[in-house]
């Protein structure tokens, strides 16, 4: 790579960061000069200080861990049910006839709308939040699993039969791996819904977790902690996205979009 191109690349990175950095500086200055009340929006430095304090007393990790645990439990339960339903309906046309339209009807109910009902059923305990997350993540995983299984190349299935694969081998070696790209798309959708649902659930009723942390801070007008909570949610969401991308690269290494063509040596 020539030096000129490297400088141009660096210039591009600098240009991309220029606006956010400038905004932060303006925001900081506006807070220092009192143009923005700290009860409206805290200064970036105050948020950083709150971040540091939360790390030092360990509360940040405790709350983040609790939130993550709820999110993953809900994902495991809801995602598992969605996956099983998707495989069942994708594989058996009769199961689809019985179940698919019911699932589609349920899917159209906004799952956050049933929060009052969920609180009546489960109180404001852990089950309520996990239940909401599970309901939220179930449908994208179900839909994409179902679609993935239905769109596996029929030619490959026929080939497998000619070459003597048993029904189980057909599923294990051709149908499920063929549906995997679609299932992973479903997982990425599900992760977005997972955090969104958890934020709402924790904000409404919780005694721990990032949502509780922000709502508690609101009571005491600690806007810096509220903003910190928002940032932590964003980071957790980003982390989940990166994890799925790594999973895709590992599981779809065969896919033309991921195959690194060997340089001619």
């Amino acid at each position: 790579m020539s030096a000129g191109r490297r400088w141009r690349g660096l210039g591009g990175v600098l240009a991309a960061w220029a606006v956010p950095v400038l905004l932060l500086l303006v925001w900081e200055a506006a807070s220092r000069f009192g143009w923005i009340q700290s009860r409206t929006l805290p200064a970036p430095s105050a948020v950083a200080a709150a971040f540091w304090a939360a790390i030092e007393d360990g509360s940040l990790f405790t709350h983040a861990a609790i939130s993550t645990e709820r999110a993953l439990k809900g994902l495991a339960i809801g995602g598992g049910i969605g996956l099983l339903l998707g495989i069942l309906n994708g594989a058996f046309p009769v199961a689809e006839k019985f179940l698919d339209s019911s699932v589609q009807m349920l899917r159209n109910v906004p799952h956050l709308a049933i929060i009052p009902l969920v609180i009546l059923w489960f109180g404001i305990d852990e089950e309520a939040k996990i239940f909401l997350v599970a309901i939220g993540v179930m449908f994208p995983i179900y839909l994409n699993t179902f679609h993935g299984i239905r769109t596996v190349d029929r030619g490959l299935i026929e080939m497998g039969r000619v070459y003597g694969l048993s029904r189980f081998q057909l599923y294990a070696r051709i149908i499920l791996p063929g549906a995997l790209p679609s299932i992973l798309v479903g997982l990425r959708y599900a992760l977005g819904i997972m955090w969104l649902t958890l934020i709402v659930a924790e904000t409404i009723s919780a005694s721990s977790g990032i949502g509780y942390m922000t709502m508690n801070a609101r009571e005491f007008l600690q806007t810096d902690v509220v903003v910190l909570g928002v940032i932590v949610y964003a980071l957790l969401g980003k982390l989940a996205d990166v994890a799925t991308r790594l999973l895709e690269h590992w599981a779809l290494a065969w896919h033309p979009a991921y195959v690194r063509v060997k340089e001619s040596s």
Partner: protein
């Protein structure tokens, strides 16, 4: 309950209903010897709904023969191949392999498709050994070596060229030493040079192994260049049946081959 489920499951994978068990059990996969098997069809009819595609076909292919089947699309070529492969069952009539009545998929018969149909998430070696079995990896390596792709065993199918994919498909078809190899226009999509290489490769392997070969093609000169015998399928029946006694390798443009080609073209 499980019986219902397994039937439902079958209906998703199979386009055809399962057949009754053959009168004699099919030999295990290890029994495939690679020795050519004769293929005999007597009075084979096949109808899809109200349309009859094959009208009482009688055909005997001696063991080890290279038969080319030419004809226009819709003439029943692919149907014939699917019947012999056991992917479809005839509406009436008998199909025999070495005088043994067969029905359903046979381990002794392998089919190469128009497209290579490699499983994209399995490496080349795992595609060749897709059916596994005893020592499958060793057999797959040998088969890959036979088609000249021994060095590509660990590659993904996506990085191979069209010709290389068909060679992998050929290795996959031959790894179990079938007695009958069915080729459903597998060279149709290749460029002329690659196709000539595939022809040469196929003839070389066939000379060494001696399997019976049935090639479907719409390319009459390909049929004449490769086969011992050519039949023309037209409107569900055999319109022409000629032997090609020329020695191999055959020169393109040979006067007697050209005359045969004209005769076949006239019948298509």
């Amino acid at each position: 309950m499980s019986a219902i489920l397994s039937r439902l499951e079958r209906s998703m994978i199979d386009e055809i209903p399962p057949r009754p068990t053959p009168s004699r059990p099919a030999p295990p996969r290890e029994a495939a010897t690679g020795r050519g098997l004769s293929v005999t069809l007597s009075g084979v009819r096949k109808a899809y709904g109200d349309t009859e595609v094959l009208h009482g076909l009688d055909l005997h292919v001696p063991a080890g023969q290279f038969l080319a089947v030419v004809g226009r699309s819709g003439g029943g070529k692919t149907t014939l191949m699917r019947l012999i492969a056991g992917l479809d069952s005839p509406t009436s009539g008998r199909i025999r392999l070495d005088e043994r009545d067969v029905s359903g998929l046979q381990p002794d018969v392998r089919l190469m498709f128009q497209d290579a149909r490699l499983v994209p998430w399995k490496r080349v070696i795992d595609n060749v050994g897709i059916a596994r079995g005893l020592n499958w990896r060793t057999h797959a390596e040998v088969a890959l070596g036979d088609v000249g792709l021994g060095a590509r065993a660990r590659d993904w199918p996506a990085v191979l060229s069209g010709g290389q994919r068909q060679r992998v498909a050929l290795a996959r078809a031959l790894v179990s030493h079938p007695g009958v190899l069915l080729l459903d226009e597998p060279f149709g999509a290749l460029d002329a040079m690659t196709r000539a290489e595939m022809h040469e490769l196929l003839l070389r392997i066939r000379a060494a192994r001696g399997f019976t070969t049935l090639l479907i093609t719409h390319d009459v000169s390909e049929a004449v260049a490769l086969a011992d015998r050519v039949i023309v399928l037209r409107q569900g029946g055999i319109a022409l049946d000629v032997d090609i006694p020329e020695e191999r390798p055959r020169r393109h443009g040979d006067a007697r081959l050209a005359a045969l080609e004209d005769r076949i073209l006239a019948a298509v």
